[in-house]
């Protein structure tokens, strides 16, 4: 598979999951694109003993907002990740060893190229919809612009047409934290001694950007963790509940994520600029597509604030595309796209229903 960086990715493996049945004319397929740390396991449980269902199980399933009794839902793990698809941990066929930092630099467009290959492999000519939030939303936009003939409608959620300088800055600090971990060894760390502290710090930083000040204040306040007064200790271990929470989030993340993958995926989002399709002109970029759009943002999301969604909507409107756009009032920050399931879900459900009915009439 050719990549934007000019290199090729050999022997590409794509892990994907599906739910529901593809109908006879193959017109009910909905592709779900996941965010930075997501995976292909989008809904349901693999075994009844699974502690947790897929990452968007509240949204997707039989009788749910994206109803798998009606739609054939596909979710694939992005390339560059560490959850089944080809990524830095995979074996480089040229050397017989893991790629690590020899993995080629990938872009969001490359991720979508791999997804398109999967859709072709499944024999689907046109997706009813591509749906995703955050970095998943970037993939949704790339789908609409790169493969307009293969997408009826697109639902980018809590996303933007490009990564902002602030977003890039957070990624930079996160990667610096990983690099500063002595276990990092320029990416050549062993599986049993990964740069856990660096990756954990990177995740903690990122996690702050997913929450809002209001959520943090409500959830933790200035509460202390298992103590009644300040420690005045020199170890600077956590006193506050919010510190303990972040520590926990960092630890959990390290158990399931690979530091090298974190490098590649954050780099892909840094490079993301949809308007590059038309030399920086976002309006001309949307001339490349004829998809219908449902754009959703969240009021307290300061990582991908509403004005960025408005920029998208304006560019779509100027191309006379049918667009729906709503900013959902929420205090959850960027994470709202996973938490405001009912408000968001109803919009997605109704939007998809009308798009599918429209297809039947044609």
């Amino acid at each position: 598979m050719p990549l934007d960086c000019g290199r090729e990715l050999k022997d590409v493996n794509i892990r994907y999951e599906t739910a529901g049945q593809l109908n006879a004319d193959r017109s009910n397929a909905v592709l779900i694109t996941h965010a930075l740390s997501g995976d292909a396991h989008v809904c349901g449980r693999h075994t009844p003993e699974d502690r947790k269902p897929g990452w968007w199980d509240a949204m997707i399933g039989p009788g749910k907002y994206i109803d798998t009794n009606k739609y054939f839902v596909i979710c694939s793990n992005i390339i560059g990740s560490c959850s089944g698809s080809t990524g830095p941990r995979s074996i480089d066929p040229d050397t017989g060893k893991p790629y690590n930092l020899n993995f080629p630099v990938i872009t969001v467009r490359d991720m979508v190229r791999a997804e398109k290959a999967l859709i072709d492999h499944l024999g689907i000519k046109k997706l009813l919809s591509v749906v995703g939030g955050s970095m998943g939303g970037m993939q949704v936009l790339e789908w609409a612009v790169n493969y307009p003939e293969s997408v009826d409608c697109a639902i980018p959620i809590a996303t933007a047409c490009q990564f902002s300088p602030q977003n890039i800055a957070f990624d930079w600090v996160a990667r610096e934290a990983i690099k500063a971990d002595p276990d990092f060894r320029n990416g050549e760390y062993s599986a049993d001694a990964p740069p856990s502290r660096g990756l954990g710090a990177a995740r903690m930083l990122a996690h702050i950007t997913y929450l809002s000040e209001e959520t943090m204040s409500r959830k933790f306040g200035r509460n202390l963790q298992n103590k009644d007064s300040y420690d005045f200790d020199f170890d600077f271990n956590y006193d506050f509940a919010v510190e303990s929470y972040l520590e926990h989030q960092g630890k959990r993340f390290v158990e399931r994520f690979d530091a090298n993958s974190y490098f590649y995926i954050t780099r892909a989002t840094d490079y993301f600029d949809l308007s590059a399709h038309a030399d920086g002109d976002l309006v001309k970029t949307f001339a490349l597509t004829d998809a219908a759009f449902l754009v959703v943002s969240f009021s307290s999301d300061w990582l991908f604030p509403t004005w960025q969604s408005r920029r998208l909507v304006e560019a779509m409107m100027k191309n006379k595309l049918p667009v729906s756009f709503c900013e959902i009032q929420s205090s959850y920050g960027h994470d709202a796209f996973l938490l405001e399931v009912d408000t968001l879900g109803r919009m997605i459900r109704d939007f998809l229903r009308h798009r599918q009915e429209g297809l039947k009439h044609v």
């Binding site: 408005r310 909507v313 304006e314 409107m317 049918p322 729906s324 709503c326 919009m347 939007f351």
Partner: protein
């Protein structure tokens, strides 16, 4: 009785507007509510786009299959190019706007034509309430008190014509909406019409 007038009026101004629009024409409805009216136009073959501020109403538009974007009509309305719609609609909303003059000017830029329905504050019953009771008028079209009303810029039909003249907006058509006396309404709309539909165009 008031309820009846309101229903009648509601149907009349939208009826007038929908009779103006031909299949295939592009229509932007400002303050489209739950999208019921746009859906009618869409079913009749128009290409529609709604604009609404209220998130719950936006949800209902989507459920009605009508594309709708969230925007504040008190803003610049710069989300679309000049001349990108055949029609820009504003039904019984202008009295709620902070700057009705700016909005009208923008509407005739965005649309080749604009259709605006206004409530007539010069209707005889309003005049009577002010004159005999010495109170701000209230009726089914304007059920609010002076202090809680969203309607901050009421006008008479005469006032509206004058504003259009000042803004150099051409009135292509004016359809007064009668309450009970159609002939009197035609003769003296500013006194007998409960509202009017104006078709506007930039001069």
């Amino acid at each position: 009785m008031f309820k009846k007038i309101r229903d009648l009026n509601r149907r009349r101004d939208l009826d007038v507007i929908s009779s103006l629009i031909s299949p295939g024409e592009r229509v932007l409805d400002l303050g489209c509510g739950d999208g019921t009216f746009l859906k009618q136009l869409q079913d009749a073959g128009a290409v529609v786009q709604g604009v609404e501020l209220d998130a719950e109403l936006i949800g209902r538009c989507i459920s009605n299959g009508v594309p709708v974007i969230q925007s504040d009509l008190n803003g610049k309305l710069d989300f679309t190019d000049d001349g990108s719609f055949d029609w820009v609609l504003l039904s019984q909303t202008i009295q709620e706007m902070r700057h009705p003059d700016r909005l009208l000017s923008r509407m005739v830029q965005i649309g080749h034509k604009a259709a605006v329905s206004v409530i007539n504050f010069g209707h005889w019953s309003c005049r009577m309430q002010v004159f005999f009771q010495g109170r701000m008028p209230r009726n089914s079209q304007m059920p609010y008190h002076w202090y809680d009303t969203p309607n901050i810029h009421f006008s008479t039909i005469k006032d509206f014509r004058e504003l259009c003249r000042d803004l150099e907006i051409e009135i292509l058509q004016e359809t007064p909406l009668p309450a009970r006396f159609p002939r009197l309404t035609d003769a003296m709309p500013n006194l007998f019409a409960i509202g009017a539909v104006f078709v506007l165009k930039k001069k």
